[in-house]
Symmetry: C2
DNA sequence: TCCGTATAAATGCAACTGCATGTATTTAGT
DNA sequence: ACTAAATACATGCAGTTGCATTTATACGGA
């Protein structure tokens, strides 16, 4: 299947992917919000920053999170206002910033994860058995390759 | 797998689903936008309206498209401003509206579909062979059940 | 019939996103 | 070294979304 037109099956898969986005991603987001937590985008940024111990440049976050430049800029702003990250000028590039996670940011990650984990289980894990989950993960990997 | 915590595999599947949302859905949206077409949400509304020949109530669109009430209200407004749909009061419910697709709306659907189809193929169909596409469609169906 | 409650849809306001542009700094060509 | 082009990031503005509230109509019980 690599012709110019998608098969009927591909279209089915497409519509279900769209719906899964609304139901599963939307569901997890809603669970987090209902518990008073910030959106997943905050979590994603903080997680990347915790992984990269040395801090990250905004443009690195941009490519890792597949976000537009201006969105990264403002997302970082919001996180900085809430003292979850800290910005400092880059030593070797006067145009650049280095963004680091703060202790409050680490704490938020720690507090969010148990609920996030449960939300993933509720909206995804509980719908598929282990072999199916594995199959789905593999297929999505191919899709993203 | 129905315990309280998701398996590592479930988490893998989750992160890939998130990424697929950005890459695949984002990719298709971008293709349409690049061709000067309105967002997919417009297409979705028009498609539902064309299927339901008699027109639909906003609340019916709401449940079919899994959108929030206020978003449907404004989405319809925008479509109506562009003469793609028409609103008229419901005969048997004074609170209600009936939304119908116009000829211009049908025309937009016809003009968008070839490109939409190609975008689906590009971002999904071409990444998976026929059996894998079928498997993905089945797994997503389970996920949505 | 009248009244309280539920439902359908719209809307004011704040937050967020996209797009284009602006500002500062680095890099490359001469 | 000097200037043009590229890069990193920020920002003004318009469009979109979420949330709470409002308006209008329908319904159900006394």
């Amino acid at each position: 299947m690599s012709g110019a037109d998608p098969s009927e099956t591909a279209i089915k898969a497409w519509t279900r992917l769209v719906r899964a986005q609304v139901m599963v991603l939307g569901g997890v987001e809603a669970d987090l919000k209902a518990a008073g937590f910030p959106p997943l985008s905050w979590y994603d940024v903080l997680l990347e920053l915790r992984r990269a111990e040395r801090g990250l440049r905004p443009m690195e976050l941009e490519s890792r999170l597949l976000l537009a430049q201006h969105n990264v800029s403002r997302l970082i702003d919001r996180l900085a206002v809430n003292r979850l990250v800290r910005k400092r000028p880059s030593a070797n590039d006067g145009r650049g910033q280095i963004v680091e996670i703060t202790e409050a940011g680490r704490d938020l990650l720690r507090r969010m994860w148990p609920l996030y984990r449960r939300a993933i289980q509720r909206h995804m894990g509980s719908k598929l058995d282990a072999p199916d989950t594995d199959r789905l993960a593999r297929l999505l990997k191919k899709l993203l390759a």
